[in-house]
């Protein structure tokens, strides 16, 4: 446009015309680019809507065949084409529960170490190392779990649990049965390792956002590190920490490959944590390509729809909570 102004040699009308043409072109580029970017943004919404609609449409045959009973039926028999989602749903929830029960306290303790105790020069390397745990692909956790971790548990932790809890009335059925190595507990433990970095990185972000003056005041009153953590930092960051936990839970619920390797893929609800089980994602990964018949495929996709609803709700709550704390921190 500067060029246009300098091209004074041309007659005035000509200059005006070419100026108008160039301006018009610029305006066109701007409009096109603007709408292109808006289209791309809408694309993101289309992906989520597409996932939801296609899962719903493809699971209609299963929904109309089994109705709501699908959710509470334990039978999974491809031969007679009777399918129920209870075992995978139970497995998904129980493995995630084990994972969170271990990962939440450990993750928060690691965060406490990284934000309060660790010498400055070590914070970055240790923080990065913990986050690398999240970078390792889940199929690697799977192969490691199957060949290294499961045999290790079979020799050590599982016999010990059976011995210790054998005489205790209720717990004896929770830790019953031969130590297979693979099973619900193993899957839960591996999930715990996998979601640890998510809890640590989110809670670290929110811990560091606590105004130093609050902590200094508490230290000044003579509080110990633990008391500052318990009565100042945690109450201040509670919403964010819960958001991080929900985020990790969303991951654990949907994790596929690592679980598929070590859970044993058995369609039954067993009270024992040492028994093989299955989860929604593991069932789909194991059986989908081999599923014959429309109803079988449809039942598997209906499982996918259930997983979608569960993880979507958990992640939406997580994001909502994190959004709230982001606004407060500003």
């Amino acid at each position: 446009m500067v060029d246009v102004a300098l091209r004074g040699a041309a007659p005035a009308e000509l200059a005006a015309a070419s100026r108008a043409r160039i301006l018009g072109r610029l305006r066109l580029t701007d409009t096109v680019f603007r709408n292109l970017t808006r289209l791309a943004a809408i694309c993101v919404l289309v992906i989520l809507a597409g996932v939801m609609l296609s899962l719903f449409r493809a699971s209609l045959p299963a929904i109309s065949a089994f109705g709501l009973g699908f959710l509470v039926e334990q039978v999974w028999n491809p031969v007679t084409e009777r399918f129920g989602a209870l075992a995978p749903i139970y497995g998904t929830i129980i493995t995630s529960f084990i994972a969170m029960a271990i990962a939440v306290p450990i993750g928060l303790l690691i965060t406490l170490f990284l934000t309060e105790l660790c010498p400055m020069w070590l914070r970055r390397p240790i923080g990065i190392a913990i986050e690398l745990l999240a970078g390792i692909p889940s199929v690697i956790y799977g192969i490691w779990g199957l060949f290294v971790f499961a045999p290790f548990l079979q020799r050590t932790l599982q016999p010990a649990l059976i011995d210790i809890f054998g005489p205790v009335p209720i717990l004896s059925s929770v830790f019953a049965g031969p130590p297979y190595g693979i099973g619900v507990l193993t899957a839960g433990l591996i999930l715990a390792i996998m979601v640890l970095p998510f809890i640590t990185s989110v809670s670290r972000d929110v811990f560091e956002a606590v105004p130093p003056v609050l902590k200094e005041a508490a230290y000044g009153l003579g509080c110990t590190t633990w008391e500052v953590m318990r009565y100042v930092v945690l109450p201040y960051t509670r919403v964010g920490v819960i958001g991080g936990i929900m985020l990790a839970l969303g991951r654990a619920l949907g994790e596929t490959m690592a679980v598929t390797f070590v859970i044993g893929n058995a369609h039954r609800v067993s009270p024992s944590l040492l028994a093989p089980g299955t989860t929604i994602s593991a069932t789909i990964a194991n059986e989908f390509t081999e599923a014959v018949g429309d109803l079988y495929t449809s039942a598997l996709i209906a499982l996918g729809l259930i997983l979608f609803v569960i993880t979507f709700s958990v992640l939406a709550v997580a994001r909502y909570l994190l959004l709230r704390i982001e606004r407060r921190i500003g």
Binding site: L114, C118, V139, W144, V148, T224, W226, F261, L315
Partner: protein, 280 residues
């Protein structure tokens, strides 16, 4: 009084030691997994891995076809996903920074960022594989592109937000239309950050297995045909590791080592790039 004091100190020390222990515990897993991976995988690492096809059980071979397949699928996924991601991020940071659409997209994008990837696989199976009637490499690439988009959207938006608004105002004051301001000023200022986002996306998808199982499937033979099933490293690891054959399992470990090294290298480079930017 002294009693209370001692109890508080004791409790504090217990928590502090627990927090040390937790950190050692976390780092221990990393060391155990990586260490085992190197022990099991490095033995099989030879030139043959990169020059020979996957073998039938009981004979010698390498991982050439899955490596090539993974590269093709990953590159294609990045080519499809990156432009969409960057454009969407641009809308959110530049044109519609405060619009309703941006808020909704940001929320949904954050959910997609951690949504189970196996559901993306089912989605692409429904919209591409089932209508086409067969598994294909291109379906695998599209599935992975769905995972690239949220990562790139997020980093692009964040990085463009960091560009000082004075730069944009100066450019606008010169009479540049917004499309030019974005391309000539904002993109240049945020380039390192956007590249970081793309690298992170590559790191994210190169280990992904679940979405490939129902889209690209797998292939015992060498194939660069995008319209046919295509081998990929993660899918081969899955198949070989769960097989009863010792030599297949060994190849699975080697493949696992290759993927992990690639992913860790990518994420470290991305991190270095991001932090060098922050300091300047």
């Amino acid at each position: 009084m002294m009693d209370l004091y001692r109890r508080r100190r004791l409790r504090n020390q217990v928590v502090i030691s627990l927090s040390f222990a937790a950190t050692v515990f976390g780092l221990g897993w990393l060391a155990l997994i990586l260490g085992r991976l190197v022990i099991e995988g490095a033995g099989g690492l030879s030139l043959k891995v990169f020059t020979e096809m996957t073998p039938p059980p009981g004979s010698d071979g390498g991982l050439l076809n899955p490596i090539v397949g993974s590269l093709i699928i990953t590159v294609l996924a990045v080519l499809i996903g990156t432009p969409v991601g960057i454009l969407a991020g641009t809308y959110m940071a530049e044109y519609g920074r405060y619009s309703r659409l941006t808020q909704v997209v940001r929320f949904i994008n954050d959910i997609l960022l951690s949504a189970p990837s196996i559901l993306i696989g089912l989605f692409i199976y429904e919209v591409m594989v089932a209508p086409m009637g067969h598994f294909s490499g291109v379906a695998g690439a599209v599935a992975l592109a769905m995972l690239v988009i949220p990562v790139v959207v997020r980093t692009t938006e964040d990085m463009l937000q960091l560009v000082p608004k004075e730069l944009r105002e100066a450019a606008s004051a010169l009479g540049m239309p917004l499309a030019y301001v974005i391309r000539k000023v904002s993109y240049r200022a945020a380039r390192a950050g956007i590249v970081t986002g793309v690298l992170l996306a590559v790191a994210r998808i190169s280990g992904e297995t679940a979405p490939l199982l129902f889209t690209a499937l797998n292939n015992q033979f060498f194939s660069a045909n995008l319209n046919a099933p295509m081998a990929s490293l993660p899918a081969v690891i899955f198949q070989f590791a769960l097989s009863p054959y010792r030599d297949w399992q060994r190849l699975a470990w080697t493949g696992a080592l290759i993927i992990t090294l690639a992913v860790l290298a990518l994420s470290i480079v991305a991190r270095a790039l991001a932090s060098s930017r922050k300091m300047s």
